[in-house]
Amino acid sequence: MSAPLSVENLSVVYRVAGGSLQAVRDVSLSVQRGEVLGIMGESGCGKSTLAAAMINLLPAGAQIRQGAVRLNGADLLQLPPAAQRALRGRSVAMVFQDPMTAFNPVLTIGRQLADFVGAHDPARATPDRLAAMLARVGIPDAARCLGRYPHELSGGMRQRVAIAAALLTQPDVLIADEPTTALDVTMEAQIIHLLRDLRTSFDGAIVIVTHHLGVIAELCDRVAVMYAGEVVEEGTVDAIFHDPQHPYTRALLACDPAVVYPSSGRLPTIAGRIPDLTALPPGCAFLPRCTVALPVCHQPPPRVRLTEGRSVLCHRVQI
């Protein structure tokens, strides 16, 4: 049986003034049913572009240079637009980053949910089912909520509604693009709780895109670490967190705010900045910031497969 979602050698560029910006470079990954994959990286690493490419709703100016996005085996990118539309909201569902702008301000929640969930199959969007799912995600007085307008709900509430909408479509893959980034800490904790809770009843695959280590640790089974458009390391959460191999992953984990250097009392950081994605050097993208770089790092690094599902993009790592 093919994986619900599998990305193969995907590359996405943005056309900008003065060239093209390589946002996603030759990325391959897959998620199995019942599994939660985390895509982790700092701002600008390409993870949101990757998420958008997974449903092929990229902004204007973006171009898919190569690769495939397979939903249950079929390549989404090769399908005609109508067929792609048929898969969205049925095989794959997405929860967006900013709950404040994700909903239409002049329509009620109930009306929007009915339109979204019922886009392919109106029978799925009866008021009873909608209210039941809203209650399931922890919205008090779900029936009245259907008659409310988005601006009457808090950010956390809106994000719950978004998650409810996604689940109601019973997708094979649920993608959450930075689901807690726009929320404050308390709401964030609640959403993480909710997602962990839902794992038990949701049998599809889940992809969570985030820059927050805590979210990865709490929710994910496996994680792919992205840097400058590439997956630099991939593996189970246990393996990545306890035995990181790539220098970037190591530095990232060392930057955990929980680790405050006792002597200086300062937060650790990674020196330097992400490279210019319009003018990438041929070798390892992390080279300028790497503390353990070798001369050979000026060559493109190999993808080293340590075990099944565990790989690192680095010269220093040998099997």
Binding site: I55, L57, R85, A86, L87, R88, G89, R90, A93, M94, F96, D98, T101, A102, F103, N104, P105, V106, L107, D115, F116, V117, A119, H120, Y149, H151, A162, A165, T169
Partner: protein, 316 residues
């Protein structure tokens, strides 16, 4: 919703009161007084005194203003100095003509404007789009009375297809309609361009909004997205603009009515201005202000009905 409606109506009433007060007292800011103004420079002092008494100008200002407000509430907007007819009666006689002209002009401008705006969205960034763009900016700029004059010259004088003067025979719908064609064209033409741009810009902006992306992510059809989601949002600013624009349509009507010698508010007030017939002018201004305020308030209430966020915003 009710609280908002009351607040809104109250504000409009307040504005109307301010305008009426200004209108009434404006005459007193210049040397002379309404009586001299009305009678002209060759009136004798006795005549002026008599008129002054009749107009109640010998009373203190505040009393005069109160009388004025009291009269207005009873439907008395003053009396024409020359013909002695009540001003309100004259206004109501010709107002329907202007109203019909305005509505027909707005109607066809709206129809064509929305059509062109949507066409531009579909043909976005093509040559047709750019041409439409230049055209729409151009028609906005041309003064409506110039269009009226040229249209009259071409269609009524040279080609003799349509009437040049008047509003048609009473009771004869066909002739009234024919008399409406050129004036409505002249008044509406500027608006076609403006509305097309507005619709285009509004729709484009809405289609890029994040919530449209959400709709797409759920696989909603483009047609459903445009008509059920995008249009609902885009329409709100359009209504507001239309209401304000009705005022500009009325302004154009003033000139266009003169060009076509068409009975209406425009011809009424311009004739009164030429004769310095202030009661008629003032009465007309108050009437048109009240009407215009009513239109704007109705539009605001409609918007509040369509866009729930507006109701909760406190007027700062």
């Amino acid at each position: 919703m009710l609280a908002y409606a009351i607040r809104r109506l109250g504000l409009s009433l307040l504005i109307l009161i301010v305008v009426m007060t200004v209108m009434y007292t404006m005459v007193f800011l210049v040397p002379g007084d309404p009586a001299s103004l009305a009678l002209g420079p060759r009136a004798t002092p006795e005549l002026k005194e008599a008129l002054r008494e009749r107009m109640g100008l010998d009373q203190p200002i505040l009393t005069q203003i109160l009388y004025f407000f009291g009269n207005v509430l009873q439907g008395d907007l003053g009396t024409d100095v020359w013909s002695k007819r009540p001003v309100l009666e004259q206004i109501l006689e010709v107002f329907p003509n202007t109203l019909i002209l305005g509505l027909v002009a707005l109607g066809w401008a709206l129809f064509l404007g929305i059509l062109l705006g949507c066409a531009a969205v579909i043909w976005r960034d093509t040559l047709a789009d750019r041409l439409l763009g230049v055209l729409s900016v151009s028609v906005i700029s041309i003064p409506s009375f110039v269009v009226a004059i040229y249209a009259l010259i071409i269609f009524a004088v040279w080609l003799n297809w349509l009437p040049a003067i008047g509003a048609g025979e009473k009771g004869d719908i066909a002739s009234q309609a024919r008399a409406l064609i050129l004036p409505a064209f002249a008044v509406g033409i500027g608006w076609v361009g403006y509305l097309a741009r507005l619709i285009r810009a509004s729709m484009l902006e809405v289609m890029e909004a994040p919530h449209i992306r959400t709709a797409r992510a759920f696989g909603m059809s483009e047609r459903n997205i445009v008509f059920r989601h995008a249009l609902r949002v885009a329409i709100v600013p359009t209504i507001s603009i239309l209401a304000v624009g009705f005022g500009s349509i009325l302004s154009s009507a003033v000139f266009v009515e003169s060009v076509f010698s068409r009975p209406g508010i425009g011809t009424l007030i311009t004739a009164a201005v030429e004769k310095r017939n202030y009661p008629v002018v003032m009465g007309t201004v108050v009437f048109m202000t009240a009407f215009y305020l009513a239109v704007i308030t109705a539009a605001d209430l409609l918007i509040a009905r369509l866009d729930p966020r507006v109701r909760d915003v406190l007027r700062g």
